[in-house]
Symmetry: C2
Subunit: 433 residues, 2 copies
């Protein structure tokens, strides 16, 4: 065990910074983590497990002795406990649920029924709520007893137990004990239903600056609350998704998904990519005679396509991110395109220069240098235009600007690269000698 790990496991550090401790000890093998954690009292074990990432936490949980395991499942946030159970094998999960108190087990089962990445799976089912008739004094008394430090908004219920509104905790500080909570109540800024996809949860988080999101059943009764840090996790999850969708790996796939899911989600896009690859190949086919005469062209073909592909990917990435962060909008298409044309032209010139030197040293042919230099500039400008416009056009068409954007871009840059390189070579054929 290294120094950082032993420091992280030292009692005091663990008590004050459970999340940091979790980050550090996650680097150890699961059995070793479990062996260390099993020694802790529940009050220290539970916060660390709460902060553990689901996959590692689930594995550690399996290695813990049974009493500790049950303590974690009962005392950790419900959403975290459900995430741990979701990672376990069907049989192991059932065995654990049997051992838990009936109420806890029922709540966990209900959560596990909701699909992954929905509000129902992210919510915590332990909620602080009061009847709307209660007064400030009553709320303070209950808060003192419960010692629930997570409460920020007190939920008020009407006579039918439906959510009527919320009272901010700070209002309790500013008003007399006799004040009815209903006087301090404000409408709930946003609620979710348990089947709402994570996407919508994040959308609400962003537009409303929320700390928590109450999840209601169709009758308006509280099922749970998605809290601050689960909202943050969901936000991070969503924000990093473009990297997958741009290359045609589905939204649903995770690094921990089965090969079977990966296969099903990726295959359709690979088949579409094959179609576009044939399209690009047919461009090469047009110039088969030229290639037959100068096989050096076949050798250099991937260089031109590779450079314009990379340059286009850079333009695509920057533009897509700008759209995702709303730094630019569809309306800015011309400014973005102008920037990318400029960048493509000057980068193209610089690359044409280095590439030209390389090709001259290899082939000793000024004609070949001229062909690759010219086509490099042309195809890198085309790549810049495509990189800027593909996501903007997708957004304009009401599509996710990321979906398959990389596949569309590669088609454009391949065709532009092949056509310019082989086309110019055919035109300047006499110089290639």
């Amino acid at each position: 065990m290294n120094a950082a790990v032993s420091a992280a496991l030292a009692g005091d550090f663990l008590a004050v910074f459970p999340a940091e401790a979790a980050r550090v000890i996650e680097t150890m093998p699961e059995e070793a983590i479990a062996a260390q954690l099993a020694r802790l009292p529940p009050a220290r074990l539970v916060p660390v497990m709460n902060a553990m990432t689901p996959m590692i936490g689930a594995a550690v949980l399996q290695c813990l002795p049974e009493p500790a395991r049950l303590q974690v499942l009962q005392q950790a946030e419900r959403s975290r406990a459900a995430a741990f159970l979701a990672q376990a094998e069907e049989e192991a999960r059932e065995a654990l649920l049997q051992l838990l108190p009936a109420g806890t087990a029922a709540q966990l089962r209900r959560m596990l029924d909701y699909p992954e990445a929905t509000a129902g799976r992210l919510m915590d089912t332990v909620v602080f709520s009061l009847p709307a008739e209660a007064n400030v004094g009553r709320a303070l008394a209950l808060l003192r007893e419960g010692g629930n430090r997570r409460v920020r908004l007190i939920k008020l219920l009407d006579a039918e137990n439906r959510l009527a509104g919320v009272v901010d905790l700070r209002e309790l500080a500013l008003h007399h004990a006799d004040t009815p909570l209903s006087h301090l109540m404000v409408p709930v800024p946003a609620v979710a239903s348990p089947m709402d996809p994570q996407e919508e949860v994040v959308e609400k988080l962003e537009t409303q600056d929320l700390d928590e999101l109450t999840v209601l059943d169709p009758e308006g009764r509280i099922l749970g609350v998605v809290r601050h840090h689960r909202l943050l996790e969901a936000l991070k999850d969503e924000a990093s998704l473009d990297i997958q969708t741009m290359v045609g790996a589905g939204r649903e796939e995770r690094a921990t998904s089965s090969s079977w899911l990966a296969l099903r989600k990726r295959m359709p896009w690979l088949q579409i990519n094959l179609l576009t690859a044939f399209l690009a190949a047919s461009v090469v086919g047009i110039f088969e005679d030229t290639i037959a005469t100068y096989t050096a062209l076949a050798v250099l073909l991937p260089v031109v396509a590779g450079q314009s592909g990379n340059a286009g990917a850079q333009a695509l990435a920057v533009t897509m991110r700008g759209l995702a962060l709303r730094e630019i909008g569809i309306a800015h298409w011309f400014a973005v395109m102008r920037k990318e044309v400029n960048t493509g032209f000057w980068n193209g010139l610089a690359i044409a220069l280095t590439c030209g030197i390389g090709v001259y040293l290899w082939s000793d042919s000024v004609g070949l240098v001229l062909v690759i230099a010219l086509s490099m500039v042309i195809s890198m400008v085309m790549a810049g235009i495509a990189g800027a416009l593909v996501p903007i056009v997708l957004a304009r068409l009401g599509q996710d600007p990321a979906v398959a954007s990389s596949i569309i871009l590669t088609t454009v840059t391949d065709i532009a690269g092949f056509f310019s390189f082989l086309g110019i070579a055919t035109l300047l054929g006499s110089m290639l000698g």
Copy 2:
């Protein structure tokens, strides 16, 4: 103006949901937004401008009449006002700063001195702080007067005006007016210095579940506070960064950056990519004789490389995201690789089948079908391995698993594709006829 926009601008909606209103009206041209917003009273105008994205907000600000412009700069959050000013031309910025009250202008100037994407640029300089000797009653009285709804943690200062600790607002509710705040004070969980990069700010947000982060000068005096929603923006910004760094566009570049910055940041990677492209080309060069005999190989070469490139990019994207979200760690390298080998093999078989049919229809050559089918499976398995291992190895070496990962991957998939396709073709040369 369409229905959504007029609804968004209707007084009531704007008052309750300034952030949503900002999202909707951002789709209009800047002059039109300004014309609409100029009619609003400051109490409605400022929250909408606060929620506007910096680039669009800055443009709108330029179009507003001067009194409204000054109101926004004075009353909006300092960090937002600074972001607007940062987008303006040097001269226009100075002119505006001259018109502002000296104190506000000095604060804004100081913020603009910090580099972009640092804590100093993200912070709000308006902070609610009290001497540690004050009691609960005094704090409540000041809160009632100020009506500052953003306060969550009261900062307590020592005799030298240094940050001594914080008191959670809920504690005010739970204690008597005579209680000295110093009794309720807890240590500050995390602070930042104004030059801290956004990366570190996000790191603290994630590990500590923070609502706000206090920014201190070297003497421990409060400079400002980075609040909840700026932290969220920073988190989103960081989480979406991999898409740029993987293709060698720098961390610093934005869709709104100049071509000159784009050129400088992207060029080095394009030159490195050129080097790797020459490496791949040299593989093709080995087989120049084979290509001279069968030019159909040159036509199909991009198909094999393109498919394995796309398959590898899918594996890379899913693995990189898993690492970024901490769903997997370096320790899971074998499980991830096994998944990708599996997926690559079965996807390879399926693509080999469709591709084989296509090639047979085009060339009528069973030999060519055999060559492309075999090399497709081999190169897609290789692509899967590379896609899984590149980010994991980068992380193991202590590097950012995203940086240039796509460039490294493409080199591997190109070489694997070219080598397997042309190598098998050379071995089975007699069958190609």
